[in-house]
Symmetry: C2
Amino acid sequence: MTITDVARLAGVSPGTASKALNGRGGISADTADRVRQAAERLGYQPNALARGLLTGRSFTVGLITTDSFGRFSIPVMQGAEDALGPGLISVFLCDSRDDRIREQHYLRTLLERRVDGIIVTGRRQDPREPIGRDLPVPVVYAMTHSTDPADLSLIPDDEEGGALAVRHLLSTGRSSIGHVTGPRRFKAALLRARGAEKALAAAGLELAGGEPLFGEWTEEWGRQATDALLRSAPGLDAIFCGNDQIARGVADAVREAGLRVPEDVALVGFDNWEVIAASSRPPLTTVDMNLRELGRAAGEKLLAAIEGHPSAGLHLLPCSLVLRESSRPRQPSAAPPAVVPAQSAPPGQGQPAPSGQGRPVPSGQARAGG
Amino acid sequence: MTITDVARLAGVSPGTASKALNGRGGISADTADRVRQAAERLGYQPNALARGLLTGRSFTVGLITTDSFGRFSIPVMQGAEDALGPGLISVFLCDSRDDRIREQHYLRTLLERRVDGIIVTGRRQDPREPIGRDLPVPVVYAMTHSTDPADLSLIPDDEEGGALAVRHLLSTGRSSIGHVTGPRRFKAALLRARGAEKALAAAGLELAGGEPLFGEWTEEWGRQATDALLRSAPGLDAIFCGNDQIARGVADAVREAGLRVPEDVALVGFDNWEVIAASSRPPLTTVDMNLRELGRAAGEKLLAAIEGHPSAGLHLLPCSLVLRESSRPRQPSAAPPAVVPAQSAPPGQGQPAPSGQGRPVPSGQARAGG
DNA sequence: GTGAAAGCGCTAACAG
DNA sequence: CTGTTAGCGCTTTCAC
């Protein structure tokens, strides 16, 4: 089943058939029709290998993820697929599992397959070595970044995300705001904390308890930290958490300490990890890193680079805030109930996939810089 | 950078270079060495397109997921990648989002790229139309199944999983066992319930409350159902839940009703969704569908089919039980504390990805049938 | 043991 | 407007 078969059936030469099928060159409408019909009838499918061999373009890109299919790389992959897949470009998926050997192996097979470009995703804020030097195709780093400033890297603006959370809490009238977050060795934890502190400083405040509580990214740590924080910072009326799991633990601990969320203590999480944030009691207001958007941007930048318009540098993409119950402003009037009624489950949802959202509130535009 | 360049540098003909590099045909050790060194020096990378064009094999397979990158398809994809990726085979990822148009579009581009085979994954127990008829390459359905019995489909054995859960509860001395699960329209919910009921019947028992409580796959539903169940089935000493979210809701509601898990009421969930099951209070014993294993099996079956050893039919793969706190057998001696102490977080875990596990307990072997 | 030549399926350049 | 020719990079006969 080749173009020659089609040509024969249509009574033309292969060259003519090729032009007819690709709408190139002057072909009489009549012939073109005949060729198309022949192709249709035979169920002709062009051989992308042959075409790629000749044209030097494979209409294929590689996606190397160092983070297996983690919670962070998945939306990035989806976004990249959004930008590339529906068009002509197919995506080769490679899971390097943070193993340099495996990564180089995949890089090699991608290059052998003559991909037109490569996206590298990860999960760390911390910079990484470039995947290779002088590669014959463009590379975009998404949700991870290369130490080489000549490379293009796209990451979320964690610092701005932290500021966003705190400014929101301030805007709802809170002023004694604590911060519970993950391990100090994560750059993301440091950046989010810094953003929070800067936003507070801009309002002439500092963190309740004096400094961030660094610990683990777990609910358990959220509960522990809450107990400490409630003791050490009596006037506390809000807690910004470094991720949603911590926030959920905090929510439980606050409630179990006899306080109300959000009436007594408002909460903001980070990640907008639907399954955690939405089923927390109460559901969590949280910072969304817009990872899918980030992935899409990576796909688009890669396309641009493939078409000869490369870009470079570290780009920070904006986070946004998703509003839910946990930071609802205090009612000016009647005293609220002692326990916030659990929201009823949306009907007909079935096995939940990451889907529904609160109301997203975009922050500033993407800005470049380090 | 072609094989011709390598050949020239090594002072041989392209044909000889090819043989040397692929270890085919009689080539003197000496020449082979020279060619390899030349290739090395030039950083030669064979062109997979050209090779595929000639040999008819692309060493590439397509993976079409209808479930976006859902919680179920991800481990399946990982498993498939495990089986295929590290070898010579690369995986084209296509996300059809349950859209037939998109699916056909992807199918076409996969065939144009001359993939050697295709894996279709989904998330429903319910059968689906075959992706195409008389395709030129083998297809394996994983975590979804085709209505055509001539197709090979691999799905988890939900019914056996339900039975496994109940047998475990019985073995820890429980006898009044309720079942809270998702919507009746999900075949998985029906199968798990059936398995549970059969296991009970084999012990001469029936479900506490008489029948399964069908609802939503949510924590909220778990909490609601618990309240109902505690009222309607006073002697209740265990609840088997249709998924981990429900189980987590149940755990909270049981605790908030003043009962202890597992001392008063033991719990078993379903899915082993790490983030839910492990951070529940207490952590959940749960049924694991071994999806990664399933994906791996799909990859291996596809490989076999590509090599001319196809198989057919609906294959049910075994679930296993992951033991955690929520179903710990009652201590024969001293009365346990009123509240199970929350387990401390494993140190140094960082941003958690699906990882740690409880102790897995394999169930029976895979069995065919439908 | 090695080289020459043919051809995988397609498109681009050039004739006609 | 259409046909012919050449060649993308590789492997594979088949001579030598």
